[in-house]
């Protein structure tokens, strides 16, 4: 007789854990491109445009997430070798490092393919955290410091508006670093406050950087 409540308790515990784990898996699957610094062996890279694929002649110095804004410091020149030798020869010998955004995440030392680079970030969102674009004009240094997966607090004047918001992309226009904006994933309540037409100075405070 004593066993029945314990069994019921375990069943509810198992069901709850199962539901949350399922949702967690689904959410991480949906948001992984935004915060990923994972290896390149994901489906994203397998699905790239193989027809137009061309080795750029560069390897990445560290793991880079999807939508990462490419900077010259991200690369080292790759040596022509093995199976990719022919393609590498096809690449311009002293071509400048590519600029743009990563279509897929890359692991450290992965070779960059021209089809890995896209001109604009593609932000995938979840319904509970729609993106909001915050200009970095007042804090241009953040454009190089922040990356996809970093987390920030947003303050307006002396009041915090949103805490621990994820960076979905750093988007920069034609006019260089001064024109950059950060796309943050914001819950509805924060989104509404961000959209509020308040003229106080808005600042980002870095909470966590991507290693």
């Amino acid at each position: 007789m004593r066993v029945a409540p314990i069994v019921l308790w375990i069943v509810v515990l198992g069901a709850g854990v199962g539901i949350i784990a399922f949702r967690s898996h689904r959410t991480s699957a949906a948001t992984s491109p935004q915060s990923s610094t994972a290896t390149s062996n994901d489906s994203c890279r397998l699905l790239r445009d193989v027809k137009n694929s061309r080795t750029s002649g560069f390897r990445v110095r560290r793991a880079l997430g999807r939508n990462h804004r490419l900077l010259p410091d991200d690369f080292v020149r790759a040596k022509a070798e093995s199976a990719n030798a022919a393609k590498a020869k096809a690449a311009p010998a002293k071509a400048p490092p590519p600029s743009g955004y990563l279509r897929c995440s890359l692991a450290m030392n992965d070779e960059l393919d021209s089809s890995d680079v896209i001109a604009e970030p593609v932000v995938t969102t979840t319904p509970d955290r729609p993106p909001y674009l915050i200009s970095l004009r007042g804090q241009p240094a953040l454009a190089e410091l922040l990356d996809v997966g970093s987390r920030v607090d947003v303050w307006r004047g002396s009041k915090p508006i949103g805490l621990d918001l994820p960076i979905l992309a750093i988007w920069c226009g034609e006019s260089g670093i001064a024109s950059c904006s950060a796309a943050v994933g914001a819950p509805d309540s924060v989104w509404r406050q961000l959209a509020n037409s308040d003229t106080s100075t808005r600042r980002l405070i870095v909470r966590r950087l991507v290693p």
């Binding site: 007789m1 004593r2 029945a4 308790w9 509810v12 515990l13 709850g16 854990v17 539901i19 949350i20 784990a21 949702r23 967690s24 959410t27 991480s28 009041k159 915090p160 508006i161 949103g162 805490l163 621990d164 819950p187 309540s189 924060v190």
Partner: protein, 417 residues
């Protein structure tokens, strides 16, 4: 409804100690736990609070305090109902669940009754055989000394009395470790002591003393366990001895432990005095309140009980609500596991505390029945009965007349001018 709340608030604040401890304290803890959980799960809550200016914070604090006070008043209003649901009096517990719970209580009671019967049987057996065991050892002690050559071969022979010593040692082990000793174990021990005594073993005196001590211990231990079980039965389950053809509804078990503790009050008053506490409790309370100390004792015990009952309900509400919210919202398993493990654990703890507090309160009410029943008769202007049988008849008549409008024949005895 509003006037009822206002009245309850006024009454509660005037008897502030009980209100503060039994209602406001659980409500405050409930509010604090909810705010803490929300702040831990949603950083926006912390950000929202930090973003408020002083006047907004004052307003928010006032609203929070008002909600807490309102919850405390609600707890105060629902105190009786919450207890009655846990006692199984309300129809919330019905159908298969009620049957299942009642079966559990019945089987628990049957186990206690069975154990009591076993202890009674052991006691009888020990009583019946004690003289026989002592006599056997006395006779064995008088056995004349006889030398028997064992025809030693020079090798080390096993001691033939060793099993007897081991039997006595095992009885001693039970005694010194505080375990019950059965009749069979005593019988074996006595037989072993008899063998040592007959063989004039060097440790024969010690063996006899050990067995005499073991017999005394077994009797005392049996009585101790019987008393413990009898008290557990008496303070946890209703029991009115059946006599004749009269029905005893007070014997019916409730589906919960709390309910059965509550029913012990009625069964006690009925079995001792034929006094129906269900009918006469309010009148008895009126008499008890003339003694400040006794009324304060009852009030304190009830206050502690109400606190535990309120805490149990709030813990259950907290656990279910947050478990649902987390299953619905969270992507992290850990908060759900913490809530679902800690919540039921705290609910079990608070329920057990409530049972203990209810036992204390029930005992105080039973004592009040013993001590204040004659004062109640005086208040009712009824003559004091000369003996216990007359008293039973009188209380039965008063209970029937007051509760069920059955006419009674009695002359009043009014106080003098």
């Amino acid at each position: 409804m509003l006037s009822a709340i206002v009245t309850a608030l006024q009454t509660s604040l005037t008897s502030s100690k009980a209100f503060l401890f039994a209602n406001l304290l659980p409500a405050l803890l409930f509010g604090a736990m909810n705010v803490a959980t929300a702040a831990l799960l949603w950083p926006e809550v912390g950000a929202w609070w930090v973003a408020l200016d002083t006047s907004q914070k004052t307003l928010a604090t006032t609203i929070g305090a008002s909600i807490t006070l309102g919850l405390a008043v609600l707890l105060s209003l629902l105190a009786t109902s919450m207890l009655e649901v846990l006692e199984g009096k309300r129809p919330m517990l019905r159908g298969a669940l009620r049957q299942w719970m009642t079966r559990y209580q019945t089987e628990k009671l049957e186990r206690i009754d069975k154990q009591l019967d076993q202890f009674s049987k052991v006691r009888r057996d020990i009583q019946e055989r004690t003289d026989e065991w002592i006599e056997k050892m006395r006779v064995a002690r008088k056995t004349p000394w006889t030398f028997v050559s064992t025809g030693s071969t020079g090798r080390s022979e096993p001691d033939p009395l060793e099993p007897s010593r081991e039997a006595i040692e095992s009885v001693r082990e039970l005694r010194v470790t505080g375990q019950p000793i059965g009749v069979d174990q005593l019988s074996t021990g006595v037989q072993a002591a008899v063998e040592l005594l007959e063989q004039h073993a060097p440790d024969r005196e010690g063996a006899q003393d050990e067995m005499l001590a073991a017999i005394d211990y077994a009797r005392d231990m049996n009585q101790f366990e019987r008393t413990r079980l009898y008290n557990a039965r008496q303070f946890n389950y209703p029991k009115v001895p059946l006599g004749g053809s009269s029905a005893q509804p007070a014997n019916v078990l409730a589906p919960t432990r709390l309910g059965n503790i509550g029913r012990t009050i009625q069964s006690y008053a009925i079995s001792r005095y034929q006094l129906s506490i269900d009918v006469l409790w309010t009148r008895l309370q009126h008499v008890i309140q003339k003694s400040d100390k006794d009324a304060a004792l009852l009030q304190d015990a009830k206050m502690q009980l109400d606190c535990c009952i309120g805490a149990w309900w709030l813990i259950v509400v907290y656990t279910i609500a947050w478990a649902l919210v987390l299953v619905w919202q969270s992507v992290n398993v850990v908060p759900f596991v913490i809530v679902w493990v800690a919540g039921p654990f705290l609910a079990v703890v608070s329920y057990r505390l409530a049972c203990e507090r209810y036992q204390v309160w029930a005992d105080l009410v039973r004592s009040a029945v013993d001590l204040f029943r004659f004062d109640l008769l005086r208040e009712l202007a009824l003559p004091l009965p000369p003996g216990i049988e007359e008293e039973r008849r009188l209380w039965n008549a008063v209970s029937q007349q007051t509760g069920y409008l059955e006419a009674m024949d009695a002359s009043y005895k009014h106080k003098g001018p």
